[in-house]
């Protein structure tokens, strides 16, 4: 199961539409969830609408939350999306085997068996979650909460029986014109997470769409991170597609 969680606080303003990018992800079997992080201000009507549209195109969930609720939201979203992915697969099976398309149309007795199997899959199926973090200037005061949410997600994923990995990206990249930069390649340990964004240079633009496309590409080329690792301080060099 493949997921992208986009954490942002505003509108994209550069490059391809993030809604188009999210639809691409969905087409490749990657679910896109979006969290809009608020501080005391407001995200704006336009930002909220974009967040909902990205998630709708990406087949995922969208939530607007305060920083305090970020960790809980990311954790719940991941879990719900896992169940949702399995549910979709099971619905297809049900259609073929029983000619009924939903769990609800089964009598409670039979429903129990199907749900038991789904719970088992949800716990054991391999899972990958790529976190894509908006690092535009307005996100700076929220990055500690983001780091904490990533750590918390890792704790939850480590408790699963199936193989679970995360990777972390932020956008825009450090050099002018870079849309996206990888901070952490696929990992299932907590070791790379502390001080993930310590050296981050905040940029002005928000190339959400292009950054999403890069993460999709990362999923395609599984070994991408290994080639680009500089291995000194845990920060990877920005990469160009």
């Amino acid at each position: 199961m493949k997921q992208i969680i986009l954490i942002t606080d505003g509108c994209s303003n550069v490059g391809v539409s993030p809604v188009v990018a999210a639809a691409h992800a969905q087409a490749e079997g990657i679910t896109v969830n979006v969290v809009g992080v608020l501080d005391d201000g407001d995200i704006g009507e336009f930002g909220a609408a974009e967040i909902n549209e990205i998630a709708a195109a990406g087949g995922g969930l969208s939530r607007l939350v305060h920083m305090r609720e970020l960790a809980r939201t990311v954790q719940m979203m991941t879990r719900k999306t896992v169940m949702h992915t399995i549910q979709n697969a099971v619905h297809k099976e049900l259609q073929q085997v029983l000619g009924t398309s939903s769990i609800e149309s089964l009598p409670p007795g039979k429903r129990g068996d199907v749900v038991r199997m789904m719970d088992e899959l949800g716990e054991t199926a391999p899972l990958r979650v790529a976190l894509l973090i908006d690092a535009s200037a307005s996100m700076k005061p929220k990055l500690q909460a983001v780091e904490e949410a990533i750590r918390d997600l890792m704790i939850s994923l480590q408790a699963r029986q199936g193989k679970s990995e995360i990777s972390v990206f932020h956008f825009p990249g450090p050099r002018y014109g870079d849309d996206c930069c990888m901070d952490l390649g696929w990992t299932s340990t907590l070791s790379g997470i502390p001080a993930l964004f310590a050296k981050l240079q905040m940029q002005g633009t928000t190339p959400t769409g292009p950054a999403l496309l890069e993460v999709i590409d990362f999923y395609r080329k599984d070994d991408y991170g290994r080639k680009n690792r500089d291995g000194t301080d845990g920060m990877k060099s920005g990469y160009v597609v």
Binding site: E104, P108, G112, V115, D119, E123, Q158, A159, Q161
Partner: protein, 308 residues
């Protein structure tokens, strides 16, 4: 994510099961769990609790746990699942629900406030017993928190809302941050007996140090959220300090089983003599005593005067 789910059921409404045709008259809303809302209902002249789910899969998953538990504890008072069905709301939508035994009781904090904190060792012991039963059957409660414990007469405590119950060895299905072992950097979110004991310990600290506990949660930086901070609260609280060793073992996951934790709970409270210590007599009792003594004196004086 708090899902505000409202199946729109009002007192007096009667819902009828789609598969088994049982009918239930809604009395009132009892509470809200993670997967749905719980109502007090009347059915065959008896009172039951009925949980309406927002999602058929989530609710069924909870029902599966309750059914396994019912099989394991056959005939005992623990098996309280009565019926599982769906109903069609007048608005056309179909909602899943299940019916269970109605557990009467009050929240832990309210109970101790009303009955006095002398009851706390016993309430804690009962609760550890409930958890031990669950653990011995291969399950972990998961979402142990203030709202999920009800206390009935004589300190008998009950666990309610089985939405977080998880088979040992799997990832805990539902938890509440402040009671969570992972949140306090004290271990994983894999279901084991120690997970519930950790939450139990946090719960009792919250009970007796509510203000300082909530201050701690709001001010500590994530990297400083460690059990040692909780133990500081235990040490400075006169009710909890005799149990310091117990709390420290619970936080470190050092109890081999929940039965052992329950035994240690009793032992440490006994050694500290907390059982012999009793709260000072209430003011009304003192006043009553003075009044009756006064009455006796007056009676005696009157009797002497009358010359008896």
């Amino acid at each position: 994510m708090a899902t505000s789910f409202d199946p729109g059921l009002s007192p007096g409404m009667v819902i009828t099961g789609k598969w088994k045709q049982g009918s239930y008259r809604i009395d009132r809303l009892l509470g809200e769990g993670a997967n749905g809302k719980v109502y007090l209902v009347e059915h065959h002249r008896g009172q039951y609790a009925l949980k309406v789910g927002s999602d058929a899969v989530d609710l069924q998953s909870e029902v599966n746990v309750l059914q396994s538990l019912a099989l394991q504890t056959k005939g005992s008072a623990e098996s309280f699942l009565v019926e599982v069905d769906d109903f069609q709301h007048p608005d056309g939508r179909t909602y899943p629900f299940y019916v269970m035994r109605y557990v009467r009781g009050m929240l832990l904090a309210d109970y101790l406030e009303r009955e006095g904190s002398d009851w706390f060792p016993l309430v804690g012991f009962h609760l550890l017993g409930k958890l031990a039963n669950l653990h011995e059957a291969g399950w972990v409660f998961g979402d142990l928190k203030m709202e999920n414990v009800l206390v009935a007469d004589y300190g008998r405590s009950q666990l309610v809302d089985y939405g977080g119950v998880t088979a040992v060895g799997k990832s805990v299905r539902q938890f509440t941050e402040i009671y969570d072992r992972g949140y306090w950097s004290a271990g994983s979110r894999k279901a084991d007996a120690g997970y519930d004991l950790f939450s139990f310990a946090v719960l009792f600290i919250q009970l007796f140090e509510r203000r300082r506990f909530s201050q701690l949660v709001h001010t500590l930086l994530p990297q400083n959220r460690v059990p040692e901070e909780l133990l500081k609260l235990v040490r400075t609280n006169t009710t909890l300090s005799p149990l310091e060793e117990w709390f420290s073992r619970a936080f470190a996951g050092e109890f081999a089983s929940t039965r052992e934790a329950a035994a240690a709970w009793q032992l440490q409270l006994h050694q500290s003599g907390i059982k012999r210590r009793s709260a000072p007599a209430p003011r009304w009792m003192k006043r009553l005593f003075i009044a009756s003594a006064l009455l006796l004196t007056i009676t005696i004086i009157l009797m002497i005067r009358v010359g008896m």
